[in-house]
Amino acid sequence: MNALRKGVQLLGLPVLLIALWWVATVNSDNFFWPPLSEIAGTFRETWFTGRFTADVLPSVGRLLAGYGLALVLGVGLGVAIGSLPVLRAVLEPVLEFFRAIPPPVLVPVLMLFAGIGTTMKILVIVSGCVWPILLNTVEGVRAVDEVLRDTARCYRLGRRARLLRLVLPGASPQICAGARQGLSVGIILMVISEMFAAGNGLGFTVVQFQRTFAVPQMWTGIILLGLIGVLLSLIFRVAEARLLSWRNE
């Protein structure tokens, strides 16, 4: 009974909405809003007959590469800057400025340097994702508890132990918050960099569909992008829950 109620709560509205969409478009001859049945019908043929390896995987691969690099860079630099108050004071306005630049404008800038290849796209993703991660790490390192710091000093924890046992775990809630922001920026940039200039990839393909007025196919692309966004945020949540399992919440 309880499980049934939970199931209804969880799936009720989504099922209802999809059903509504289905019914509302079932006899649709509106060019922009094809029947959902048609969209669903073309989904498999559109994406799983070659495009999955040709477009989807490269896109996601670039996203993960860029995001991973941004994590390493952001956390590494963030720990360094957060641990050195003078350096932090010097860099703060500069970092604030870089964070405030809407990341997509980096696409044309980085195209100058790196052309339109994979390198450019990864660079764009890195340079967009890195700021929220970096700035949150700096904040997190700064906010590590004073008494805990004293404790670590009293027991003469070495550099390595201080980093691994004190600073990184202490800053991890903030780092996760930054990493989450970074991930949504990363997905945006993955799509944008491909819409701007590319020969393959999800963003490229979806725009191609739009330009050739392959409307049902375009819809499948939008849905696929949505699913990827949802899937990645789910994976992120699982990872975060594991990483922060020590928290009493």
Binding site: Q9, L10, L11, G12, L13, P14, L17, F32, P85, V86, A89, V90, L91, E92, P93, V94, E96, F97, F98, R99, A100, I101, P102, P103, P104, V105, V107, P108, V109, M111, L112, F113, C176, A177, R180, Q181, S184, I187, I188, V191, I192, M195, F196, G203, V206, V207, F209, Q210, F213, V215, M218, W219, G221, I222, L225, G226, G229, V230, L232, S233
Partner: protein, 259 residues
């Protein structure tokens, strides 16, 4: 005792350092000046831009699109947030849907927007509103959840009318969260506004950046990027100041919920 200089002086030093690096690296040939012109060239291009009517029109378009999108998203997010959050059944029923729709990248809607509205400013508005709406909605929902159950019960036991309940109980508790939503939403709205102009080609500074890049006007492109960055800084600072001002009186201790 060695005393460190005040933070603003150090920060100024950092900015000066950035300008110096931007000026020097192309001059000494560390990077190609076709790709990264010296800072002075960017400033020159900026001055040139400032003399054109197009620049100011674009600036206005960008700010207008941003404000409009943010405004619509705020109203929609706050109203829906109060309604959904205020009605327990609605809250439990919508949780999964919201959690599903929120991470959908708004840029996925770009092709649809272009198909529906072309390069019109409505295209950009659609993605701005979509992205910003979730930021606001989620914060408002957190805020409503934070309402003291005793206060809620009290209001109910005195048989306040629904609108009075909203005004006296829900709204004051949710306000700090609404303002946090405003701050986060303001930044997101600017990002998507510029993105829309850049990719879709709706009027604004983003389109000018794309045009400058296409025509090889590299210093002008950098100048516009700097302008956009400064708008971002201003938006962040203004949103933070608004939040602080509006909450000076507020007793509640707030936690920021990562969105």
């Amino acid at each position: 005792m060695r005393r460190t200089p005040p933070p603003w002086a150090l920060g100024g030093l950092g900015l000066a350092g950035l300008v110096l690096v931007l000026e020097a690296t192309p001059r000494v040939g560390l990077v190609d000046r076709r790709y990264l012109p010296p800072f002075s060239a960017m400033v020159e291009a900026l001055a040139g831009q400032a003399g054109t009517a197009e620049f100011w029109r674009s600036l206005l378009e960008t700010l207008r699109g941003w404000a409009l999108g943010l405004g619509i998203a705020m109203v929609a997010g706050v109203v829906l947030g109060l309604v959904i959050g205020g009605v327990p059944v609605a809250r439990t029923a919508t949780t999964s849907t919201i959690e599903f729709l929120r991470p959908i990248p708004s840029v996925a809607l770009i092709p649809l927007a272009v198909l529906l509205f072309g390069t019109d400013l409505r295209s950009t508005l659609l993605i701005v509103v979509y992205a910003t709406f979730w930021q606001v909605l989620v914060q408002v929902l957190y805020g409503v959840r934070d309402v003291d159950p005793v206060a809620r019960e009290t209001a109910r036991s005195y048989r306040f009318r629904p609108l009075t309940q909203v005004r006296t109980v829900l709204w004051p508790t949710a306000l700090p969260y609404v303002l946090t939503g405003f701050r986060l939403g303001a930044a997101v709205a600017l990002i998507l506004e510029i993105t829309g102009e850049l990719v879709i080609g709706s009027p604004g500074l983003g389109r000018q950046i794309a045009e400058a890049q296409n025509s090889g006007a590299v210093p002008a492109m950098y100048a516009l990027v700097i302008v956009v960055g400064l708008i971002g800084v201003a938006v962040n600072a203004a949103a933070r100041a608004t939040e602080r001002r509006a909450l000076r009186w507020h007793p509640s201790i707030r936690r920021e919920i990562p969105a």
